[in-house]
Amino acid sequence: MKIVRHYSELENNIQDQKSAYLRYRVGKIKHALWLKTRKSNENYITKYDEYILKMIQPGKTGIFGSAGYFLDGCIKDLTVIEREPIVKSFFPRAEIVKHRKEIGTRFPNTFDNFIVTNNRADLWVDANGLCEHLAHYREAMKNDCLFFYSMRDTQLTSWNRFKINHYQVFIDLAKQIERLGFECLESQIEFANGDGNENPDTTNGNIKYLFKCIK
């Protein structure tokens, strides 16, 4: 039997719709909110979503890589952007992009609010890699756009968790993001308490920023 170290060594991907859906679903925790919402007369949201709904400003809102269709009943003029074509099969209004840079090309200076919540595809990069992604998102934002960005500390790469103050890592990250053309308005940085449980917000990410886009 083949012995593999890395996912990339595997070939013969199964390409059927069911597998595509399952692959997408396991990577998007908040898809479960949509599954609950569509069978209910209520919109199921998390506390962090409640915060976003309270803070967003009037106008167009874009949400990328966050299973954002579950917010369709909560936000007017919402554009849901995803990378996986399978999303269109259950949410036909989704905008599918192959690469992040396509977001700015297709929606230049468009949004008054832009949301990316715990998008795992953004992670497994260092701070510079993350900033490259955010620079692409910025292209789709108007001046003064509110940018809600959240992530998990455990999937940012190449930092020594024993030697560096964790709060400082994410304060420095916010400063680096500001240099792209943002102002950090609020941040919430929380870590697990060491009782063996997952981080304080596995669903949305334990690192949350609110930026204002400056153009």
Partner: protein, 172 residues
């Protein structure tokens, strides 16, 4: 307009136990994980017959286990949760195992260590993987044998099936 209902985040997260099986269903060819095979080989080559295995997923392992740690000839930890305790607690847990069994094999997930962010030790090496081994030896006060591979984790190394940092610790 529909009302919003705020729910607890923890209700949404439920994939990790089945993740390996789900992932395998995405491919036509059967495969085994290198890190799993390495541990099975370690158990076999060292003649361990009664493994007390602390795990948190449904991965099937090819060795004999016991349910009572007092009967074990090896304690093996592949449970992700183990790495999410404080560093102090991790060391206490290892020492507790060593009090019951002379041979312990620990798998730690590097992305979880020092999960509270409060247990910084600036005297450790700059290289994180080296720092993990040094921290372990320093804290336990005994040499450990490092079975970890050197790699930059890009999320594709199955670390969330079998934690990446592996150490064999023996009572001296």
């Amino acid at each position: 307009m529909r009302k919003n209902k705020v729910i607890e985040d923890k209700n949404l997260y439920k994939w990790y136990k089945n993740w390996n099986k789900v992932q395998k269903s995405f491919f036509t060819e059967p495969y085994q994980l290198y890190e799993q095979v390495k541990i099975e080989k370690f158990v076999s080559e060292n003649g361990f017959k009664k493994v007390f295995h602390i795990k948190d997923n449904y991965v099937k392992w090819n060795f004999d286990t016991v349910s009572d740690i007092e009967q074990a000839d090896l304690v093996l930890v592949t449970d992700q949760k183990f790495s999410r305790y404080t560093c102090k607690q991790i060391i206490e847990n290892i020492n507790s195992f060593l009090g019951k069994c002379n041979d312990v094999f620990i798998c730690l997930n590097r992305h979880y260590l020092n999960i509270t962010g409060t247990e910084v030790d600036t005297s450790l090496p700059d290289d994180y993987e080296t720092a993990i081994a040094v921290w372990l030896e320093k804290s336990l006060g005994t040499p450990v044998k490092n079975y970890s591979e050197k790699f930059i984790d890009d999320g594709g190394y199955f670390t969330w099936v079998v934690p990446d940092q592996k150490f064999y610790i023996q009572n001296k």
